[in-house]
């Protein structure tokens, strides 16, 4: 507990938390996936339409392309909105553009910290850190981290969690 109170003093002195954004890898992956899928959709829509219904109908392929352009911007905004801050005693998470959400998880309440990485994420060299507390409603996750950073974060959170651990 004495570490906790000392840390609180530091945080109070520092004032504003130091935010960390996400590395650009996640944005790159999401945009690539978006372009690949919607590009394929555009081709699949435009080619049969152009062949069977006349060349004018081939313009329908522009619809997915427009959606892709819109999604490109949205993904960028969403990616910029994600940020986290490791404070002395708790982890701060903030995300969302229209529906904003900010989460505070005290280190002592973390039951489990896991790093996950799917096949696509692994290809792009990304990993996701998921925090679990005793409350299932806590949805604290940081996606798209560099694997080394994810592991560092996991180790640090686990260490801090053990130091400040508490029961239910």
């Amino acid at each position: 507990m004495e570490t906790g109170s000392a840390g609180g003093g530091i945080a109070a002195a520092a004032g504003e938390p130091v935010w960390t954004g996400l590395p650009p890898g996640l944005l790159r992956m999401r945009r690539l996936l978006l372009v690949v899928w919607l590009g394929a959709a555009a081709v699949l829509l435009a080619v049969p339409a152009g062949l069977f219904a006349g060349p004018l109908w081939a313009a329908s392929g522009l619809l997915p392309l427009a959606a892709a352009a819109w999604g490109w911007v949205l993904l960028g905004r969403n990616w910029r909105s994600w940020r986290y801050a490791e404070r002395a005693d708790d982890l701060l998470l903030s995300r969302g553009v229209l529906w904003r959400q900010e989460t505070v998880v005290p280190y002592g309440r973390m039951q489990l910290v896991e790093v996950t990485s799917g096949p696509v994420e692994r290809y792009f060299g990304l990993a996701r850190v998921q925090l679990h507390t005793a409350a299932a409603a806590t949805d604290a996750a940081i996606p798209g981290l560099d694997p080394a950073e994810a592991e560092r974060l996991r180790d640090r959170l686990t260490e801090l969690g053990e130091a400040r651990s508490a029961g239910l």
Partner: protein, 464 residues
């Protein structure tokens, strides 16, 4: 934490004797248990007959005396054997740190329940079990979907085991845990049958389901003039009505809350008696609910005494992680209920005043915004919700797992935000429609309070 060490110590003396001790410590359930298991095949048959009555009728007419005899001759021993085997293969033992249950005929299952993690223990005595003089013990632990149940034990055994589990969980030495016995209890409250009946009569749900049955059934009859749909629609409706009125009366009859060093004791039930125990410091949230019609009841008598937010009757619910029981007091005058709450959460007084959202919140929730409120005391985070049916929820700071702030586009326009507090009992308590600036302060302040609040909490082993 002490378990491996203690076991090591026992084994160190004499391995053979130690193993014999464990074997000796293992116990079986009450021999009446197979009868309960024997019901399974019969229940399957009945279920099939109800599900498909025509087919069942046809099969019954084809049945001759011989086939019936053969069926009985096969079924009854098979059921008895199944019951006997499941009973034979179920063992349990209490060690220094754990309750171990070994069970399963085909799929073996061994559960080791850490005593200091026990959230609540219930002794249930269903009607038939009361006749047979047995009881079942249910143990609530965090994070298990399947509740661990010891059914059935002799009534005396169940009480003794409950007392022993609690004594060991409290940190008494294993040698003395046997002798500690049941901790003395002090009664806090008993709900008189008349008050309970009155409370149910004043609940909207009771009349709602009854009224629905009374309206829908004649309508169905006039529409179809055949008894089948009336029965098909009416039976569930009547069932729901009975469950919400008579069923609740029977379940909540003679509700007694007492306090003991073991924690809170709750006894209730007319036919099926249940005895619940919640060890100290396990309560995650407490909710005080006041349905509309309860507001003016008994206010002349208890209104003067009950300072907190007027008189009337209230219902108190509590949430413990991993436990499905939620009612603490089915009905009581507000002053009495608040006294009980002060016992459950030591030193907590239900705050009278709570801060309303700013007036512009009416743009997000017309009229109803007035029902919301939030208050923070040094021990609890309190939210108020509801205009007609008022709900006040209390969360001790030490039980907060995470704090979230959410804000949608419409709320952003009005500079409002919601603060959610997540607790270990999978309940989220929300302070809605706060001013955005205030909400941010509330969130950070709450995170700070929940972190420091832990220091004053009681240890898991509350007697050590």
């Amino acid at each position: 934490m002490t378990a491996p060490g203690a076991e090591e110590g026992v084994r160190g003396q004499d391995p053979v004797r130690a193993r014999a001790d464990v074997r000796h410590g293992e116990r079986r359930l009450h021999p009446v248990t197979p009868l309960r298991r024997a019901w399974a095949p019969v229940a399957v048959l009945i279920g099939w007959a109800v599900h498909d009555p025509d087919q069942a009728q046809r099969q019954l007419t084809r049945l001759t005396a011989t086939t019936l005899l053969v069926a009985v001759a096969v079924f009854v021993p098979a059921a008895a054997l199944y019951g006997f085997l499941t009973w034979w293969f179920t063992h349990f033992a209490v060690t220094d740190a754990e309750l171990r249950i070994r069970t399963g005929l085909v799929f073996r299952r061994t559960a080791h329940i850490r005593l200091e993690r026990i959230q609540a223990i219930d002794v249930g005595r269903p009607l038939l079990a009361r006749v047979a003089g047995v009881a079942k013990l249910r143990i609530d632990v965090v994070g298990t979907d399947k509740k661990d149940e010891l059914a059935f034990l002799g009534e005396g055994d169940a009480r003794a085991l409950r007392a022993e589990l609690l004594a060991r969980a409290a940190g008494f030495a294993p040698e003395t845990a046997h002798e500690v016995g049941e901790a003395p209890a002090r009664r806090l409250l008993r709900v008189p049958p008349g008050v309970l009946a009155g409370a149910l009569a004043l609940t909207g749900r009771t009349w709602g389901s009854l009224g629905a049955a009374l309206v829908v059934l004649p309508l169905l009859w006039f529409a179809t003039h055949s008894p089948v749909p009336v029965l098909a629609g009416g039976l569930p409706l009547l069932g729901a009505a009975a469950a919400s009125s008579f069923g609740r009366y029977v379940a909540e009859y003679d509700w007694t809350v007492s306090e003991s060093p073991d924690g809170l004791r709750i006894d209730h039930g007319l036919l099926d008696r249940t005895h619940e125990t919640v060890p100290p410091g396990r309560v995650q949230t407490v909710r005080i609910v006041q349905p509309l019609l309860w507001r003016w009841v008994g206010s002349r008598r208890s209104g003067a005494a009950g300072g907190g937010g007027g008189g009337g009757w209230v219902r108190v619910e509590l949430h413990v992680a991993g436990s499905s029981n939620s009612v603490l007091v089915p009905v009581a005058p507000r002053a009495v209920a608040e006294e009980v709450v002060a016992r459950v959460l030591p030193g907590v007084r239900v705050p009278v005043e709570s801060a309303r959202p700013p007036r512009r919140a009416a743009w997000c929730a017309p009229v109803w915004w007035r029902g919301n409120g939030v208050a923070v005391t040094e021990a609890v985070f309190v939210t108020r919700r509801g205009l007609l049916r008022r709900k006040v929820t209390l969360v001790p700071h030490a039980k907060v797992q995470s704090v979230r702030l959410t804000q949608g586009p419409w709320k952003r326009l009005w500079r409002l935000a919601d603060v959610h507090v997540d607790t270990g009992a999978n309940k989220t308590v929300s302070a809605r429609l706060r001013d955005a600036q205030e909400a941010a302060e509330l969130m950070h302040g709450q995170a700070e309070r929940s972190r420091t609040g832990r220091g004053t909490a009681r240890p898991d082993r509350w007697m050590s």
